[in-house]
Symmetry: D2
Subunit: 340 residues, 4 copies
């Protein structure tokens, strides 16, 4: 069983079917095709407001292209130390923005907290030319440590942004897992809470390779299109990006996949706790962080379970990530085998 | 019938099948998967030398990432005015290289010519800090005007590059179409002729979204990997890029697809000439440029044929591009319909 | 005698005196000093409109920082092949703009011509994401070949820019020499003619190291200040930049210096013609380009005269540049020596 | 009395004299002049090894250009939170390096400590393509909080760098003040201790506008020259940069100026302590950080003393900076006035 990452999972049947359906017949290139033309409508319905949607093949591209439209080369992007844009995108944010600096904050479970953010901003020198001034705040939903912002929490950050003239970006690489946990509409944790641009992940949750840049500020569209083109992220056979997204949204595939992953995470968590593990913190999505006794870790590995050490949280801490295709039966069977 | 671009064609059956074969089961992310691990071997066999292969999803990415490893931010890239990197990648080359400048030359059928290149270099000021010095030469095989460099022609350019300490890059967005026309081994027009890095296109010729950066200078691998990551072009589910490439190479799918497209171009060319068109120059690949009388252009459009005006070559010039799925029967039927 | 460049000349007495006058006593750093605080007023008077003035130490800095505020990383800057920004600033324009591309035009005596510019723009593909669209036009006054735009000529280019939504930048490295030749107000060839930003040169014409970025569009000020700071061009002891500029403007030092240089150029030109030289074109400033017979060139060098070959204009063409300190007497004496 | 910054001081008489001496007569541009040609020799003597010296007009330029030759666009620069390159150069380091990220550490008196550095490096993930790997360490001598690294301290950091394949950069904006405090040769705290490149400051300590990039690794010269040119930092009348540096070195002007400033700082410190101030930490150079009672702060301001609050170190902390021209007599007279 592979809990190393949700990136190890394959694409899901609905998306394979959608790609297959585009396997014959010609179609206009570079987004002139029918699936692409339908994207804005489908996502506007999903988010209950007019949005512009630009798909790219990776989350790093979605994040960095988005940030390049929200931050000048002279500005700063406030994010958590554990944010993917700081930890796992090499120097992508500086590359795409032309030099913007990440301004790093701490906070529990990889969350930014509104009060801490306000204090951080208050402690910055007055805007001038010598020091980097914040222009954008970036949060991740669900966070890199498996936590989820409630609508109120996002809105509180959004309020701080508004009052300080900052743009708000949401890295939603696991947005589906967050939504599956929250009892609210997508609008509630995004534009209604002050988010300007969302990186709407699909790859980790059943797509082959597509994340969508969702612009709640549609005036950014041409700038984003230019940034996408010159960074090599405009696909010629664009319909294959669009088709993935349409199939992902249709019939709630995105939410159902995420619910499966979240359920598997819960089941796995309970099973591991029964065996002696202790959660570092409660998970709200498909990522678990647990203290695992050495012998349990060894027995898991001996039973073919893959997972990563996460020593930043403790020498005995490990991360487990479930995915849309994680099998509850397999997890239960593993539990029985290990308990036996 | 759509001759607007080869990008309008769908992915081919062999590649769809390869993607479907990866639709169940987990696999390591970011290139740790089996298909990716086989790439270097398969391409080394194809090119008869040890190469490193890094797939990306677009030709612009393959070109610009490659150039970023061959040119410093202070240098120049000599290419033809009609080169894709000048005409159709926005400011990508400057973005990826950190500021390198395109140095533009003319030449027939979008080709650089060795003597003209030597003369161009001789006319440049001595290398100093004031003016941009060439560091790289970029050629396109097949060219943007449908021509093909022979092995001797590439080797002659390669010799100029060597004697001037310049790197040689080949944009092979339509490399397959060139190879289908040439009677030689892939090695003969690439590393044996002095090419350092090849952008090996697949998307236009039957893939869904993959072009491969082929490094004949394998020492560039880590730099290219870094450039690929930070530009958002490292796919998490990397196996889907690799699977496309493996299926594309296997059983000569790439050459067979290209031969179909080239044959269709020849048939289309002959049909159009019969109807009164006049080639601007002979085509060696799947792109045709013809003078078309107004009434013929109108009749083609009236019969549902799509193609682009190419006024840079003349007010009455049009471009027709065939693809792997262009039907000879359909072309012939169209010819009969129009001749009738 | 040194006619290699006007950069070989020393700073002029008035400017040395101004620097000396700031050699005792403390003053606020980074532009809070009195001389700096007076700059906007002095230049607003000079240009008869409200301007913002930001001094930097070099012309390349003035040009590239200016262009970075007038062109996005996705856009193009139309300029002449012979423009300093293309020929002699390495890859500075791409560096400062974050990737903008120079779009090169020809034209007599290094001038852009309005009709040719209109035709050039008409021949560009429609604005999209694939090809670089012009965002800015850059002209040089006086041009790199010693010519000068009349107010009408600049205004005609300004009109083209306005009708195409392009910004107009003027590289005035030798603006003083141009003004000394023209019979008009500085306003006439700048903002009244549509110029948005002027790089107002002083270094070549008697300063030690200062060129001023003059913003007719004062809304660009903060962006320029940021670009200046992060590129290391904000001087801490800013008063020494400002003092140079104030002394340069006061009592028409700038114009008097330029007149001296222009007069010397005229005298030198006449002398050389008498000896058998033939101007490539008439000069309006302090740069001469002449066909020189081999034996005359040799005799000049033998008599200690420094000057550069300018083979781009012909195998027998040489450039002579006079400066504010060129001596008419010395030139005449040389003429007599050579004629003797 | 102005203790706001050493940047408020004027240029010193020796340097004004050197500039005046270059005020007549022509000289080759762009560094072909005699003063420039002597720089390498003079600095090689000073540092007792062969160095290459490239002057620029500002410290930010010296720092950022240096870093651009020591760090790739994909790498990280470890420095202290309080480092000038993090705090006061806007986004310059990312701009010049093409995207490198600052990796921030803490440490007493703005110093990096070797053990903490080793621990920091050990805690970083293994070098890969996802996370930024350190390529360079940057330290400041004297530090931004007035402390000075001993030769052993620098050497200990140098050893860590060597064992981790990192380059070592020293920001010496106040190198003279550090050397005036240390009892050692310049070589001892630079190349003998592992420093690859030094930004050798002069502006704050008596120059008008010049800091020198001193390359102990002379193989970096051409790359630095290119970076300097394209960023607009190559002065045409280069002799005026070189003349400042030569006068600054000659007859130990640099050390004498720094000793004056350091002595003034000591005198000022003692005077303030007598009046009730309490040093945050002992100063080794010309910057003091003291807790000042409110009423003392008020009385100082009332007596015309300028200085900055430094709340990052405490609500009652203020910074005082002396300069080469600070008068001991004035400081003593102030003390008597305030004590009276």
């Amino acid at each position: 069983m592979n809990f190393a990452s949700d990136n190890v999972s394959p694409l899901c049947p609905e998306i394979l079917e959608a790609l297959s359906a585009e396997a014959s017949g010609n179609a206009p290139a570079y987004g002139g095709d029918d699936p692409t033309q339908r994207l804005d409508r489908v996502f506007s319905d999903l988010f209950d407001t007019d949005v512009a949607v630009l798909p790219v093949a990776t989350g790093t591209a979605a994040n960095c292209i988005s940030l390049s439209a929200l931050t000048s080369p002279y500005g700063g992007i406030i994010c958590h130390h554990d944010a993917h844009i700081n930890d796992a995108e090499l120097t992508g944010p500086a590359f795409f923005t032309g030099g913007a600096q990440l301004l790093l904050m701490d906070g529990p479970v990889a969350k930014l907290e509104p009060d801490a953010l306000t204090a951080y901003l208050a402690a910055m020198p007055a805007r001038g030319v010598h020091n980097v001034a914040a222009e954008c705040v970036a949060i991740t939903q669900a966070t890199e440590l498996g936590a989820v912002y409630s609508p109120d929490e996002v809105a509180a950050i959004g309020d701080v942004c508004k009052s300080h003239d900052l743009r708000l970006f949401m890295d939603g690489a696991r947005f589906a897992n967050a939504m599956a946990w929250l009892d609210c509409a997508p609008a509630d944790v995004t534009w209604k809470a002050g988010v300007d641009v969302l990186s709407f992940g699909a790859t980790k949750n059943g797509a082959m390779a597509v994340d969508a840049i969702v612009l709640f500020d549609t005036s950014l569209r041409f700038r984003i299109e230019q940034a996408r083109k010159r960074s090599g992220h405009l696909h010629s056979k664009h319909r294959y990006l669009a088709a993935q997204l349409l199939a992902y949204i249709k019939n709630d595939v995105w939410l159902n996949n995420a619910r499966s992953a979240n359920d598997a995470a819960k089941t796995l968590n309970d099973m591991l706790v029964t065996l002696g593990a202790r959660p570092v913190h409660a998970s709200c999505s498909n990522e678990l962080f647990l203290h695992i006794p050495d012998d349990l870790a060894k027995r898991l590995r001996d039973n073919g379970v893959s997972f990563h050490a996460w020593t930043a949280l403790g020498a005995d801490v490990y991360r487990f990530v479930t995915a849309w295709n994680s099998s509850l039966d397999d997890i239960r069977a593993l539990g029985q085998r290990l308990a036996g």
